[in-house]
């Protein structure tokens, strides 16, 4: 959501923000506009059918990755399903990041002239995988399984698999509009509980805490 700087401007006019020179305020405003991703307004993620999406406001820090992986190009432009690369999501607790071989399956041929792909190819030729950093993480005392959630909300309900990004987006935000993944949901216990209450998930402490 773009940050409303009108409110701040008004506050400055009212004299609520005191002790700032005009220049400092301008600099601050410029920074805020930069941070709020002014340019393109993010498209709203469609609410998947049959899920009550819990209310949540969160803006995570940008996590720099070894290669700035463009999720938007893969999922929005080229229409690749989330579960093509994150194939373990429907099979295990974790969604997993794909092995470099999976990247190279396409990128031996596709877009080989791009600097990111050349960097990836360097990793591949060295026999290494890029050290991706984890963006969405829950504490060690939480037991979370992707497979059960996908079963409950996608496979058991015959939810169209090509729209699975909507279900993923309940916790992961609108990844289709991001390059590298950014945390858009707080993933706190309150967030989990709100969703579990609205969608009749288990309410037992030991269902999630280990």
């Amino acid at each position: 959501m773009p940050f409303s700087h009108h409110r701040l401007k008004k506050a400055v006019r009212r004299g609520a923000v005191q002790g700032c020179s005009g220049r400092a305020v301008a600099r601050l405003l410029f920074l805020l506009v930069l941070m709020s991703g002014w340019g393109p307004v993010m498209a709203e993620l469609p609410v998947p059918e049959g899920i009550v999406v819990p209310e949540d406001e969160y803006e995570g820090k940008h996590v720099p990755q070894p290669i700035e992986f463009p999720h938007d190009v893969h999922t929005k432009v080229n229409q690749i399903n989330c579960m093509y690369c994150h194939t373990y999501a429907r099979r295990s607790k974790v969604a997993g990041i794909p092995p470099t071989s999976k990247c190279m399956g396409c990128h031996k041929i596709i877009a080989t002239d791009k600097p990111r792909i050349q960097k990836l190819t360097e990793y591949w030729e060295r026999g290494e995988s890029p050290k991706w950093k984890k963006v969405h993480d829950v504490p060690d005392y939480v037991h979370f399984t992707h497979e059960k959630h996908l079963k409950r909300f996608v496979f058991d309900k015959d939810f169209p698999v090509e729209d699975v990004y909507q279900v993923c987006g309940v916790c992961h935000g609108n990844v289709m509009e991001m390059t590298v993944a950014e945390k858009q949901r707080s993933l706190t216990m309150g967030f989990c509980r709100r969703c579990h209450e609205a969608n009749e998930g288990p309410g037992d402490c030991w269902a999630c805490h280990k």
Partner: protein, 279 residues
């Protein structure tokens, strides 16, 4: 479970649904431990250490009774051998009895220990504030407190690689106890759910039962009438519910008993031992 709820429904929380209480069980995990088969080898204890990320505290702290041993082998002697004092011990594996009317549960000020719909006596580590009331109220002495942080001392690199990721590494100030290997129960239930079936007998084997060389430990769902453990309980005429269950002493085939049954805690572990006349 708020304090108000606990105070208002005090007696209901101490009873099962069949007695008008609150507990609606999905499973009632239980055990049968055959003491006539137990050879006191401590394999169960070792397996428990490996499975449940139990800290090794070292001899000094162990001597101060700060050791973590969710599964311990207690030794008792009928008569002392004067020449070999260690000889002739009887063994009793002692672990959390997961009582259905547990004494530890109502005393927790933050409801970090509570009863699950599985009939397990749960300990939520991240909720525990370390008041140690539960441990002091436990008649079996099977709750262990982390007086220190043992992560550095117990698992120096590369030993931390052996830690089980399915269970928390407990830190300083947290009470812990046997969970009936809840991570294995959880995994079996998840797997059963993925296959659209209910948990079958034998899907869950606790680490101690798996390691026991004489198969003295049988684990299962006592609510499932076809499970091995339920059959054993029935065979030895031990059933759920508080109060002491009196059995005819003349029948040598009825070996089952539950420890401290007379305290009305309704423990989930049945021990089997033939009562010997010579004692």
């Amino acid at each position: 479970m708020s304090l108000k709820n606990i105070l208002e429904n005090w007696s209901a929380y101490r009873k099962g649904a069949e007695e008008g209480g609150h507990h609606q069980y999905e499973h009632q995990w239980g055990m049968a431990i055959d003491l006539d088969l137990c050879i006191g080898c401590n394999a169960c204890s070792t397996a428990c250490y490996a499975e449940n990320n139990l800290a090794v505290v070292g001899p000094e702290k162990f001597a101060k009774n700060q050791g973590m041993y969710w599964m311990r082998i207690e030794r008792y002697w009928d008569q002392m051998d004067e020449e070999f004092s260690e000889q002739g011990a009887s063994f009793l594996p002692m672990l959390c009895q997961n009582c259905h009317a547990a004494t530890c549960e109502p005393v927790c000020p933050v409801a970090a220990t509570y009863h699950t719909p599985d009939g397990l006596n749960a300990q939520v580590y991240n909720r525990c504030i370390g008041s140690r009331y539960c441990s002091n109220n436990c008649p079996y002495r099977v709750r262990y407190f982390n007086f220190y942080s043992y992560y550095e001392s117990s698992w120096p690199a590369p030993l931390h690689m052996q830690l089980n990721p399915d269970i928390t590494v407990r830190d300083k100030g947290v009470m812990e106890k046997c969970t009936f290997c809840v991570q294995r129960i959880r995994e079996a239930k998840d797997k059963a759910k993925m296959e659209n079936r209910s948990v079958r007998d034998g899907d869950v084997v606790t680490a101690c039962a798996q390691a026991c060389p004489t198969q003295a430990i049988v684990f299962g769902d006592t609510m499932d009438p076809e499970s091995r453990v339920a059959k054993l309980w029935r065979k030895h005429q031990v059933h759920r519910g508080p109060y002491t269950q009196r059995k005819p002493k003349t029948d040598p085939e009825l070996r089952g008993y539950r420890i401290f049954e007379e305290l009305n805690v309704d423990p989930s572990i049945m021990y089997l031992e033939r009562v010997r006349e010579e004692v």
